[in-house]
């Protein structure tokens, strides 16, 4: 049984703790903030390293360019803001200042999708993964829990290019045990079952695990895949389990258009066309609410996944 338990540490604390440790080890790291430093628990790190943590103010487009310049002169810039502002607001800057000219910039995009909760529809980004995966060189990730976030951040210090890391800010549901290894571009297979494949990312991984338990009680055995790298997507894993189970359901906290569902469909339609179902936001905008309310409102619960599985003929 999948035990639903929250990580003891918030995702934002993972980020600030990582920065505190790693700036000490590598002073080339520059963490940029857009007046959301306190929201990301970066105040104390800023106090320790005022030259490495820079609160640039509310100017996201400029910050992306600034990060590009820092990269050209040999620094390792990370830029945190909310997903909505890091994508919609400055897409041309992500394209021209960063991706087109191969600059080395890591974007930490927090408050993913409905996890923006009480900031409401204006702050909920259901488009960002689709926007960013349109960039030719970008690597697009959504981290699942604290263990994965930390492990990915450690890798990003040494990797070069545009890396987009989508995350929630508060405590994620624990999926991985301390010490788990993650390889960017390789999916994590969380359980194997021959009847259906659930491919999820972000907060939907836990929902897929709960759904798999529920399905098991009804004699339906599901494979659950954590597709934390949206781009480049793990084609091998998709094809292997699509062939093994014959049915796929994608689960994402994002518009079903242009995100995980679309990316998986692109692979399947070429390699082994099979029936699919899409769990995600269906061309709607967000609203204020608790996470539990929003999951129900936008049909992102384990029960919605079970329903989708049962809708296959």
């Amino acid at each position: 049984m999948f035990i639903v338990e929250n990580d003891p540490i918030e995702m934002r604390k993972v980020y600030s703790k990582f920065m505190q440790e790693f700036i000490g080890k590598n002073t080339e790291i520059i963490a940029l903030e857009a007046d959301l430093m306190s929201s990301m628990s970066m105040d104390s790190v800023h106090n320790m390293y005022p030259n490495n943590v820079i609160n640039c103010g509310i100017m996201e487009s400029h910050i992306v360019g600034l990060a590009a310049g820092l990269s050209i002169a040999g620094k390792i810039p990370f830029f945190h803001t909310f997903t909505a502002f890091a994508s919609r607001r400055c897409f041309d800057q992500l394209f021209m200042s960063v991706d087109y000219q191969n600059n080395n910039v890591k974007i930490i995009a927090s408050d993913a999708g409905i996890t923006a909760v009480h900031n409401g529809g204006t702050h909920m980004s259901f488009e960002d993964m689709g926007i960013v995966r349109g960039l030719a060189h970008a690597v697009v990730l959504e981290v699942t829990d604290a263990t994965m976030f930390r492990a990915i951040l450690e890798q990003l210090v040494h990797l070069k290019g545009l890396y987009w890391v989508r995350t929630m800010r508060k405590n994620a549901v624990t999926i991985y045990q301390h010490g788990e290894k993650f390889s960017i571009g390789k999916a994590k297979i969380l359980r194997e079952g021959k009847d259906v494949t659930l491919i999820a990312n972000g907060i939907m991984v836990a929902q897929a695990m709960i759904a798999a338990d529920k399905l098991a009680t009804q004699g339906i055995n599901a494979t659950v895949i954590d597709m934390f790298t949206l781009k480049p997507i793990d084609r091998e894993a998709i094809i292997k389990y699509a062939k093994f189970t014959g049915k796929v359901v994608t689960c994402e906290n994002h518009n079903i258009h242009n995100g995980l569902g679309s990316a998986v469909a692109e692979v399947l339609v070429e390699e082994c066309p099979i029936p699919m179902r899409f769990i995600g936001i269906k061309d709607r905008y967000g609203q204020v609410g608790t996470l539990e309310f929003l999951k129900k409102e936008y049909e992102l619960t384990a029960d919605d996944i079970v329903k989708a599985v049962k809708s296959f003929p």
């Binding site: 487009s61 050209i72 002169a73 021209m96 200042s97």
Partner: protein
């Protein structure tokens, strides 16, 4: 001093001739805005900037950002004349497979530090380079040319706030104030009002100098600014099509496709420059 200015003026003449030939060979391009930055490029590459054409990525070099990317052809002429790549390459401007695309691309052209073309972004990148050097206590200087039409972009003003707040004294900004943008004069499209006052209010030291006054420009920027000095913006009071009376007198000279008349006039202008 006299020698330096003579050298700079000679370089300016060579850049102007070379850029006209480069664009004439293609038959079309951004004549107006390339001509108005010729003198500032000559001052930077002929007397102020540290660089090594054999080692374009020499760590101690100064950095240059052509934020108004459509002036790429003038930058290419400057880089070719200074030995970053063969002058013959200039004749491949905008041809299929060229290393010299319409707008500067740092992955394609030796000596280009920053890719530009989507306006308003070069200035932020220049700020990032300057900040990196300042944080690392390195002496490298950064120079950036912005178009006056480019100032329509809000991102420029975000960048100015940041640059002044962080006192990036190692970054020198030039506004190519040629008073025209693609569709007409600045005053018709978006009135910039008093630029100098604006920049001073934003926390800069601002100087206005005739765009072709190489000596005054050189004197204003040759010495690096001290840590406690505000960053400098030089407003280059320039003329779109500067230095070529045929272009200067045209109403719309942002992008030109050569007619027979234009070709004859520009060839006359080249001959005149070469004779002087």
């Amino acid at each position: 001093m006299k020698d330096v200015i003579a050298k700079i003026n000679d370089l300016a003449k060579q850049i102007r001739i070379s850029t006209l030939k480069e664009l004439n060979h293609l038959g079309f391009g951004h004549y107006g805005g390339s001509m108005s930055v010729v003198e500032i490029l000559a001052v930077l590459y002929g007397g102020v900037m540290k660089y090594n054409p054999q080692k374009p990525n020499w760590p101690e070099r100064d950095y240059f950002v052509m934020s108004k990317g459509h002036a790429g052809p003038a930058l290419y002429s400057t880089l070719a004349l200074k030995g970053f790549f063969p002058k013959d390459d200039l004749m491949t401007l905008n041809q299929n497979g060229t290393t010299l695309p319409s707008h500067p691309d740092r992955l394609r052209t030796k000596g280009v530090d920053v890719t530009t073309g989507s306006l308003g972004q070069g200035i932020s990148i220049a700020a990032g380079i300057a900040l990196a050097h300042k944080l690392s206590h390195r002496e490298n200087r950064v120079f950036c040319i912005i178009g006056d039409g480019e100032l329509n972009e809000g991102q420029c003003w975000e960048a100015f706030q940041f640059i002044a707040h962080h006192n990036l004294h190692n970054l020198t900004i030039f506004v190519d104030y040629n008073k025209k943008q693609l569709d007409g004069t600045l005053e018709e499209i978006i009135n910039p009002f008093n630029l100098s006052n604006k920049f001073q209010a934003f926390g800069f030291d601002s100087l206005t100098i005739k765009g072709d006054d190489t000596q005054t420009i050189y004197q204003a920027i040759k010495t690096p600014r001290k840590y406690d000095e505000r960053p400098l913006i030089v407003i280059l009071d320039s003329i779109k099509g500067q230095g070529i009376s045929y272009l200067e007198n045209m109403v719309s000279n942002h992008h030109l496709r050569l007619t027979d008349e234009a070709k004859i006039e520009l060839e006359k202008a080249i001959a005149l420059l070469e004779d002087n």
